[in-house]
């Protein structure tokens, strides 16, 4: 009984490990690039909304400050186009 239970647990663990390692971690060939990649992608893995909303709002404000009323025309164009 105990052996059966152990075997079943071992199979489950194997399946779980297979699932975890089915995707090899990304390697960008240069350690500093890999580190930058990990630094940038780790916050995006869970709750990226926390970063995406302020970033997108900031970009939109910068676009408005740089291009001015063209942004208003762009929005009209997007609304008409799609």
């Amino acid at each position: 009984m105990s052996q059966k239970y152990q075997a079943s647990n071992s199979n489950k663990l194997d399946a779980q490990l297979d699932r975890i390692f089915e995707l090899k971690p990304n390697d960008l060939h240069l350690p500093f690039l890999t580190n930058i990649y990990k630094l940038l992608t780790s916050p995006l893995k869970s709750l990226p909304v926390v970063y995406i909303i302020p970033i997108s709002l900031g970009i939109a404000v910068v676009i408005y400050l740089v291009f001015g009323p063209i942004v208003v025309r762009l929005v009209s164009l997007l609304q008409h186009g799609f």
Binding site: R19, E22, L23, K24, N26, D27, L28, Y37, L44, K45, S46, L47, P48, V49, I52, I53, I55, S56, L57, I59, A60, V61, I63, Y64, P69, V71, V72, R73, L74, V75, S76, L78, Q79, H80, G81, F82
Partner: protein
């Protein structure tokens, strides 16, 4: 009894679908990985029905030149070609002779959710606040919020699309970039052809 089973299966798929759509925004990586292990075609049918629903709703809110069924059919063809492209790419670059197509369809189906949200919001905004926008304070404020919302959806789309390609092809970062460039190179003439037929929205969805 069978009917009860069907109802419970469809019901659970609907719950999982809405749960995953929300989780896709909150935790895209975990959600896409769980989708990659799934082959529930009812969820794919729900995504396809949502796309069909969008085309019919959008057509009611504003009259488009083409019938929604034509746009919907072309979107389906485009979707299948996209999945086929990445599935073939994986088979061509690895020794695998077979690929699990159901999870691939489901992953790329969920990758359509961000654009579907944007298109639905855009149609609704067109109905509520029809363009053109003015350079008044409210017009500028709306424009900044609209651009901000669009950028946020674009980032969400890039994340989900990247994860979809990564999970279907199992490629590493550089290969994903190359494959996306190749996909883009195939898409540009195709998009221009559709644009010449005034079918503008299809490649974006």
């Amino acid at each position: 009894m069978d009917f009860e089973k069907i109802i419970s299966r469809v019901g659970s798929s609907i719950v999982v679908f809405f749960h995953r759509v929300v989780r896709l925004a909150l935790s895209p990586y975990k959600t896409m990985r769980s989708i990659a292990r799934d082959d529930d075609m009812i969820q794919l049918a729900l995504i396809i029905m949502s796309i069909g629903g969008y085309f019919y709703i959008a057509d009611k809110l504003r009259q488009y030149e083409h019938h929604p069924f034509l746009l919907f059919s072309l979107t389906l063809v485009h979707f299948l070609l996209t999945v086929g492209f990445f599935a073939l790419l994986r088979m061509a670059t690895t020794n695998e002779k077979e690929i699990k197509i159901k999870p691939a369809l489901l992953i790329f189906g969920y990758a359509l959710i961000p654009t579907l949200v944007w298109f639905l919001a855009n149609s609704w905004l067109y109905y509520v606040l029809p363009p053109p926008r003015t350079v008044s304070l409210l017009g500028k404020g709306f424009s900044i919020l609209y651009i901000s919302f669009s950028i946020a959806i674009l980032i969400w789309k890039i994340i989900t699309m990247y994860l979809a390609v990564r999970l279907v092809t199992r490629f590493a970062f550089y290969r994903i970039i190359y494959s996306m460039l190749l996909y883009g190179a195939c898409m540009i003439p195709y998009s221009l052809f559709l644009y010449s037929l005034r079918l503008f929205r299809i490649p974006f969805l």
